[in-house]
């Protein structure tokens, strides 16, 4: 079982991201369970959503307390909410930011993790380019597909194409595809740097 926790703010598509990640996994024939941790649903308030993916039926319904992967949709949460709670040393982390971890004040923190599993992606900028709206979830799921290999990009695209229509679908798919390429290039660069 692979467990993902997504942090963001109301209005950024956090819950939709978890749902569509589950749809992407389902499209690959796996069992998946997505659910939100509802607070007071307000624009801008911290929101958490969860997604479990497994080759077997998923029975547990507790919140994800020891995630295999974290997706942070809003970097302003990093020092406000205990977003890293329970993240394993071998876990994956994808943060939506145009800054690097040092600039985010996390340089020391990420040293405790496997470097090639910890990345930032400017998902909001990509969303603005392709959608004209600061909704970073498609780019983050595209980036997450490249980072973790948990689902394929084409499954993420299938999920967004099933949820949205017309320009919204195209924009989300373009953002996911760009982020996928961005993260894959980053990972290759990290691998080269480590090989040197």
């Amino acid at each position: 079982m692979f467990e993902v926790r997504i942090h963001g703010r109301g209005g950024q598509g956090v819950v939709t991201a978890a749902e569509l990640l589950s749809v992407a996994a389902f499209a690959e024939g796996r069992h998946a369970q997505a659910f939100p941790s509802f607070g007071s649903e307000r624009m801008g308030a911290p929101v958490v959503a969860f997604c479990r993916i497994s080759d077997h039926a998923i029975r547990t319904r507790e919140p994800v307390v020891r995630p295999d992967a974290l997706i942070i949709q809003d970097a302003t949460l990093l020092h406000q909410v205990d977003v890293f709670q329970g993240l394993r040393p071998e876990g994956y982390l994808l943060v939506n930011s145009a800054k690097n971890f040092e600039q985010l004040g996390l340089g020391e923190f990420v040293g405790g993790f496997r470097r090639e599993r910890i990345l930032v992606v400017p998902a909001t900028e990509m969303a603005m380019t392709h959608l004209g709206r600061p909704v970073p979830n498609a780019a983050l799921l595209g980036g997450f597909a490249a980072l973790s290999g948990l689902v394929q990009l084409r499954s993420v695209i299938t999920a967004f194409a099933g949820r949205f229509a017309g320009a919204l679908a195209y924009g989300n798919i373009a953002a996911a595809t760009e982020a996928y390429g961005f993260v894959r290039a980053e990972r290759e660069e990290l691998a080269r740097a480590q090989a040197d």
Partner: protein
């Protein structure tokens, strides 16, 4: 067709396949997505003929359902929490009149303090309303129970409440197999009302009944509910024949055959309990689970047979009777009075029920170190601080707000 969908959507589609003719509802979280889904199906013409009535309150929702059902229409509504309480008088009327209405309750806590999250306080408050109450463990079962609910309700002329955990199921996306219209039509015959208001053959329904016959009318309602103890498993068997899936019935035992300790619960927490039990069994603990699907009528014989060999029972309650204790516990005690029993109140108002807490609880239970009534993961320090304020100051203010101030930034919590 197997789909990855939201629980509310799965239920809306299942209800639509039952061809309801009148749907009346008032929005309240976490039920709203269900009736929104149905409203879309009616508006698009996918569900026809069906009248969707936007009512002004839950009291009106149940009243319209009563009127529709009395006129011979298959009627459906859904609600939760304060909405269920607000329609209480009409809920009792629906069963008193013997009208086979089906209602989804997306289980949610009851205020005050206001709380939108999941527990079983709402449907438990109406357990004596004369309705059949079925509890879903998964979204597949929630969808399946609606197909069975209409059949059970109409065969007995008794309303059925399908309870599914709010948010935990209604807002969870998981795989659900939705049957075809042909399959559902084969399983669920058209509604043949036992009584109907008909201008061509005028009669009245709901006359005043005095002391000379009230007891007899009530007795018959009780007898109808007791008949459900045979019908509910029978419909589940016929469902399995048609759809090839086990859903519904009275109870679901899991690894109970050789169990010294049996954990009893209702609803979606059963999945987390089963995972915990599997892990504890690897360490040699002889523990099993009994899921109660049908809470009203209470399947006392089936429960007794399932737990007779156990040395102790742990009942995980998602609601409780203040001043008394566990609700399900009392029913189980009535069924199996000789077996030591521990009541555990857990998951009130959306409090997460983690496997680690359950494992610790079950270990304490098997060592017989539990008190008769336990509140799982109770934060004693918060209570002691408020008790201190109550003792120190007559004008100590509202407890809920005081405790929230003690907690500080609530939004930073994850579980």
């Amino acid at each position: 067709m197997l789909r990855q969908i939201e629980g509310s959507r799965a239920v809306a589609d299942a209800v639509a396949l039952c061809r309801p003719e009148v749907i009346c509802a008032y929005p309240i979280s976490p039920q709203t997505h269900i009736v929104e889904g149905l409203a879309e199906l009616v508006k698009s013409g996918a569900l026809a003929p069906c009248e969707f009535v936007n009512v002004e309150s839950e009291f009106a929702a149940m009243s319209v359902a009563i009127g529709a059902s009395a006129a011979g229409a298959r009627a459906y509504t859904a609600t939760a929490s304060q909405g269920l309480l607000y329609m209480t008088e009409a809920v009792f009327n629906a069963s008193g009149l013997g009208l086979p209405i089906v209602m989804t309750v997306a289980n949610r806590a009851i205020g005050a303090p206001i709380n939108i999250w999941n527990d079983h306080s709402d449907s438990m408050a109406l357990r004596d309303a004369g309705w059949i109450q079925l509890h879903a463990e998964t979204n597949q079962e929630a969808a399946d129970l609606h197909l069975q609910a209409f059949r059970i309700a109409e065969e007995l002329s008794t309303p059925v409440m399908v309870c599914m955990d709010g948010f935990v199921l209604t807002h969870a996306w998981e795989r659900v197999d939705t049957p075809s219209q042909e399959q559902v039509d084969a399983f669920l015959p058209p509604f043949e009302p036992r009584q109907v208001v008909d201008p061509a053959a005028p009669s009245s329904i709901g006359a005043m009944v005095g002391p000379e016959a009230f007891t007899e009318v009530r007795y018959l309602a009780h007898a109808r509910l007791m008949e459900a103890l045979d019908l509910v498993p029978d419909v589940a068997d016929r469902f399995a024949e048609t759809f090839g899936r086990n859903s519904g019935g009275l109870i679901h035992p899991y690894r109970t055959e050789d169990a010294d300790t049996i954990v009893i619960a209702l609803g979606s927490v059963l999945g987390t309990i089963k995972d915990t039990v599997d892990e504890l069994r690897e360490g040699g603990m002889r523990i099993g689970v009994l899921g109660i699907t049908c809470f009203r009528p209470f399947p006392a014989d089936a429960v007794r047979a399932a737990v007779a060999h156990a040395r102790r029972l742990v009942v995980l309650e998602r609601a409780f009777e203040p001043g008394v204790g566990g609700i399900v516990t009392q029913n189980v005690t009535m069924a199996a009075p000789a077996i030591p029993i521990y009541a555990v109140v857990a998951g009130l108002g959306g409090r997460a029920i983690p496997k680690t807490s359950l494992a610790g609880l079950f270990q304490a239970a098997t060592a017989d170190q539990l008190k008769p009534l336990t509140f799982l993961d109770l934060d004693r320090s918060l209570i002691d601080r408020e008790l201190g304020r109550l003792a120190a100051d007559r004008r100590s203010g509202p407890s809920a707000e005081n405790i929230l101030r003690d907690l500080g930034a609530v939004a930073s919590r994850i579980g």
